[in-house]
Each structure stands twice: as C-alpha cells, then as structure tokens.
Symmetry: C2
Subunit: 155 residues, 2 copies
C-alpha cells in the first residue's frame, strides 16, 4: 500500500551542501533557518508560538534509499539503517527538533536546524518535554561520538 | 510534488479502538506492543538492541486530514493542527517514543506504545537523548493538561 505525502512548506537554511550541514542540529545550536509554510496551511499554525521547541518533519529529497546496513557519519562501524539517523532510508522521512524564535505570519524563525536549504517540509508538531524527553535513554553506539566532518563517500 | 511512502512493517498493540488508545504513550508507559518489520527490511535492524528507546514513525491510517484549527483531545480550546499532535493532519505521519525491551529477529517487543493495533510502520530511528531530549522546552498549552478520556466528537 502506497501512502501519498506532499510538502506543506519549505525549509530555508544556510546549509547549501551535504558537507556543510551539521550531522545533528544539536551540534550547531546557533544555525538559523526559516520554516515557510505554504499559505493554504498557514491557519494550522495558530498557537504554535506557545512552544519554545518544535519538531520539523521533512523529506530527504537529495538522498535515495540504499543499503540496509551502512556506515553512519558519526561511526566507522556499519550499523543497520534503523539504528542510525542516516538520510538514505527506505522511507526518506527526517525529523529535527528546533528552537522556535519567532513567528511572522506563515514564516517561523528557528535555530538549531540541520537540514539542507530547500528541503520539503512535511509536518510540524509541538515538542512536549513530558512526552518527548527521556534523559534515561541509552546512547547506544552514539555514546562518546562527537561532531566531526562527514567522512567522504558516506553520501 | 507527491512523495511515495510505503509501510516497512506493522504495529501490534492492545489498542483496538481510538477510545481505548492512550492520548500519549507517556500516559500509559506499561502498554505493550510488538513492532513487526517486514522480512525484506529486517537486516536494517542490526544493532537496534543497543538502544533503550526508539522512535516509531507510523501512518495514521484511520484518520483523515481535516480542519486546520481544531479541538485536540487534551484541551477544550481549539488550536492550529501544527500546535497539536492530533492524528487528522495534512500528512498523516505520527511518531511515538517507545522503550525497546527485546528483539527477536524481525520483531521488537516495546512498551509505552499509544498507537492503534494494525497501524502501518514507516520508519524506526534510534532515540538519542543528546539530540532529542530538551528538558528546558516549554509545554505550551499542554501545561497542566493531564490524561483523560478522549472527548467524543473530536474526530
């Protein structure tokens, strides 16, 4: 069964290439971006400014699904794609948590955004720490892995 | 531009109807479920068991997009759909953070799952507290809103 999804907006960032984009938004908390919601969906933003943090759901439009076991950017050991946040996934859906700075009509000014400029936006949801913050969660293979340049050939 | 997405598995839970399903997984942390990944994607689970918590991305297959401003389950004031977690969204993508208890081949035993039985699974990503936990985030209109029965006629 196919599920049809379409963009509700577009993400404007300073990350013009994959090499420039941080591996995770948490690695570049000052990275600025504009979330532009298409006018026909703007009404759905009512009260979004009550939230300091929001989830952005987006489409990895410059990545293709590929091998199910692969090297992520942060590790030199391969892992299953579902144990990574790599963009080349069976369904190319990404999420990032950003800080919402300001709303101007159908445009949201955000910081801590790690996605490529021009990325199609699929959804916005409020980040609610009571539901979404799990400080006791293990770090898995991410433990001790710090930000670095993306190794070449990892897509 | 349409983006084609298809299920990579199916979620088995005890929530047979919308009224039975908790409003958020955090409201029913003991709710058990099985994440079944279709065999052709099972290889992508390698090392998933290193993580205590995972994100499940799923399709709200029994909800239709609707009004952009609506009453959520937890509040009696209407909000924009993007300021809620309501299932009736322009793109029907849901996420939930669950605790991963055990992996048996292509089946994951999880707890804290709030989705309906039979829901199509779209993606799994590891939950990494360094990237995903923001205890300083505001609660917006969710502040002080506790679990309750879903009011009738909200869907």
């Amino acid at each position: 069964m196919e599920i049809n999804i379409s963009a509700i907006g577009i993400l404007h960032t300073d990350h013009k290439t994959k090499d420039e984009a941080p591996i995770q938004g948490a690695f570049d908390p000052d990275a600025k971006g504009i979330v532009e919601i298409f006018p026909e969906f703007a009404e759905g933003l009512k009260d979004i400014e009550l939230f300091s943090h929001i989830y952005l759901f987006y489409h990895f439009d410059r990545a293709e699904p590929g091998a199910l076991i692969r090297h992520p950017f942060l590790d030199d050991t391969p892992h299953g794609i579902f144990a990574t946040r790599h963009p080349c996934r069976p369904n190319g859906i990404g999420i990032t948590v950003v800080r919402l700075v300001e709303r101007n009509g159908n445009r949201l000014r955000v910081t801590g955004i790690d996605v490529l400029d021009g990325t199609p936006l699929l959804d916005i949801k409020p980040y609610v720490p009571r539901f979404d913050c799990h400080p006791e969660a293990s770090e898995g293979w991410f433990a001790g892995k710090d930000s670095r340049r993306k190794p070449s050939g990892r897509e």
